[in-house]
Symmetry: C2
Subunit: 165 residues, 2 copies
DNA sequence: GCTTTATTGTTAAATATTCAATAACTCTCG
DNA sequence: CGAGAGTTATTGAATATTTAACAATAAAGC
């Protein structure tokens, strides 16, 4: 038996190559841009802001840690660290879950909500300026479909991250 | 004069909201997926792999630090750290630039090239499986255009990062 | 030439993320 | 019930990234 790759891999053709390059540039630049914008205006990175948003939309502004991690597409470990930091800021707190003694709920404090509300307008502006004001409605629809397709393929089961593989 | 926002910000409508969510999910999941894939198969994160690719394509497999940083869309500082690590692995080395005494070239070693060649097939597979095999040719074209549009808006001038703002 | 300004690349320290291990708890099923 | 297997969340250590400051050199303006 051989451990050679069964066949020469199918390399990307020119169109694919170009699209892949463009994708990498756009996503890197955008994430960077939003991270800076939020760090400057709200004192936290983009991912942390996303956590506050999730909590703000949840019933009673609270959510199980695992569920929050799933929604935000990050590992539980990363979430633990992040919440620890947000807790230090007084923007989030933890409480024991009634129905499962292992569980924790994270909830958004009033102060956290204020911070979020103050940051939101600037953030939407940044997102608009970077994306939605630069694309046609058709393109927005296309982007949506493309992203859903990609995300769907990546959701399934895995190791520490049933969802992250 | 007031420091109120001049007007209520234009929030995202339903389509935009949905597309934005999808975008965040897709990009987060994908970057995570590729990071793990490359960490497992090649012992380095995705960004570092991208640096090796850039170098491999450059004349004489070498490039000025600043140019490399620009192409990869990362800060010079980040690149310095990354190259330091890659140098420890023996995959990249630095040399003084002849024409500018401040300058440094990074170049890909033979060993670095071997590592890259060994990792490339698996990486292309992962990229294909996650994106290109799941999209129609039209969608690939759309993705390309959309990403170029976004990247264009983010290239301009700035602080430590003339290109990163 | 000489002074001022800009560029290049690095560094230390603060922050964030990953990875592997762990404690505590719940669930399954014989 | 109770053993084994799975889930929940956290932790420490290793790694990576950001930020601000810096030294060295180059370029521009006079």
């Amino acid at each position: 038996m051989s451990n050679e790759p069964a066949t020469e891999p199918r390399w990307l053709d020119d169109e694919e190559q170009h699209a892949w390059q463009a994708y990498l540039h756009a996503t890197t630049l955008l994430e960077d841009h939003l991270d800076r914008q939020l760090q400057r205006d709200a004192g936290m990175p983009h991912v942390y802001y996303g956590l506050l948003v999730q909590l703000s939309r949840a019933p009673r502004r609270r959510m199980r840690m695992t569920e929050l991690a799933q929604n935000a597409k990050i590992t539980r470990s990363r979430l633990s660290h992040a919440v620890a930091r947000l807790e230090k800021n007084g923007w989030v707190r933890r409480e024991n879950c009634a129905s499962d003694k292992r569980g924790q709920n994270a909830y958004l404090t009033d102060e956290g909500l204020r911070v979020l509300e103050k940051a939101a307008p600037g953030h939407v502006n940044a997102v608009r300026a970077a994306i939605f004001d630069r694309l046609t409605p058709e393109q927005i629809g296309q982007l949506d479909e493309i992203c859903c397709m990609i995300a769907d393929g990546l959701q399934p089961q895995g190791a520490d991250l049933p969802w992250l593989r």
